[in-house]
Symmetry: C2
Subunit: 182 residues, 2 copies
Amino acid sequence: MSLPGQTPDTIALPSRRPVTEVRSERPARAQDPVVAENGARTGPEDPPYRLDDQVGYLLRLANQRHTVIFQDRAILALTPTQFSAMIRIAEAGSCSQNHLGRLIAVDAATIKGVVDRLRTKRLVRLEKDPNDGRRNLISLTPQGRDRIRSLRAMGQRVSDATLAPLRPDERAVLLDLLRKLV
Amino acid sequence: MSLPGQTPDTIALPSRRPVTEVRSERPARAQDPVVAENGARTGPEDPPYRLDDQVGYLLRLANQRHTVIFQDRAILALTPTQFSAMIRIAEAGSCSQNHLGRLIAVDAATIKGVVDRLRTKRLVRLEKDPNDGRRNLISLTPQGRDRIRSLRAMGQRVSDATLAPLRPDERAVLLDLLRKLV
DNA sequence: CATAATTCATTTGTATACGAATGATAGGAA
DNA sequence: TTCCTATCATTCGTATACAAATGAATTATG
């Protein structure tokens, strides 16, 4: 994953930074004000509004960086969503498409495409539920089951690399706050 | 925004919870283990891998919840990305499309569509750069400029609502950790 | 049992989001 | 000036992601 080049006055996108090794030093990034004095167009009575300090903007950037790290390491060529689906199917054993979607917070229209692509990769299988004519039961193929262990290991490495800019105690706090937020 | 109904053993998606008022009590959500004992298919020598504890998964859910809150309150019918673009154009005055994309960490292919849709809404204007035949200069229309103040106010309310599950001190810590992460 | 409500899978439409490629333009180097 | 490189805007392809609607099947309700 990469994005076009940048000039110094813009955000250094995640793909432009090495994500291969754990970094202890943090280069200048999105939180550094893009515009020196943000309040330029804000009247004197308005409170300053900084996009770079908004939780939604930061969440989008953090998610973006995580996706870059995931894709860089995902030798198995799965997207984060496909990865989540695989992990959940392994946990559940077998379930319907809509149920799988709820297990990973993906809606019915989206999970359809995710499952289709996992089927194309021969990682999951679909069969009609004999007890419910509406349902298609999803389960892992033997090939899919074979990959679960390495998927979990890969997922752990991606998480570690994503959290690398934080100290160990900060990582725990971040996860805790995110769990409270979701 | 909404998603299909859920059974109790699945994630309660953000759209199913009221986001209109600030909540002090937190209902059971994604962080509650979806599967009681996750390690079912993990061999005894494998460390437990919990999807619900992975930073990427939590970031996706947090981003998802923020988007729901944003859309619920976005009376101006802007997406979060369109909103970010408007704020940045107001700060920058005028800039090229690619430059705007870098200012909000959106690649050239994506910013094209974002700007197109803002043009359709008559919020921004495009004109050829007289000094550089490659560039299209983006600027706010008078209508766009008129909306900036209410956009900033709306953005602040969305951020507040998103952070509502956290105590004030926790909110500052979360923003700090996200800034370190990005 | 018969009807109503729900659930499931699917499709269509819209909007990010990124990779890759392309043609036009600009700027620096030989 | 010529060539090389970089940048810009654009297009195509793929993949989430959600709203809304649909038809089929199931479950709940009267």
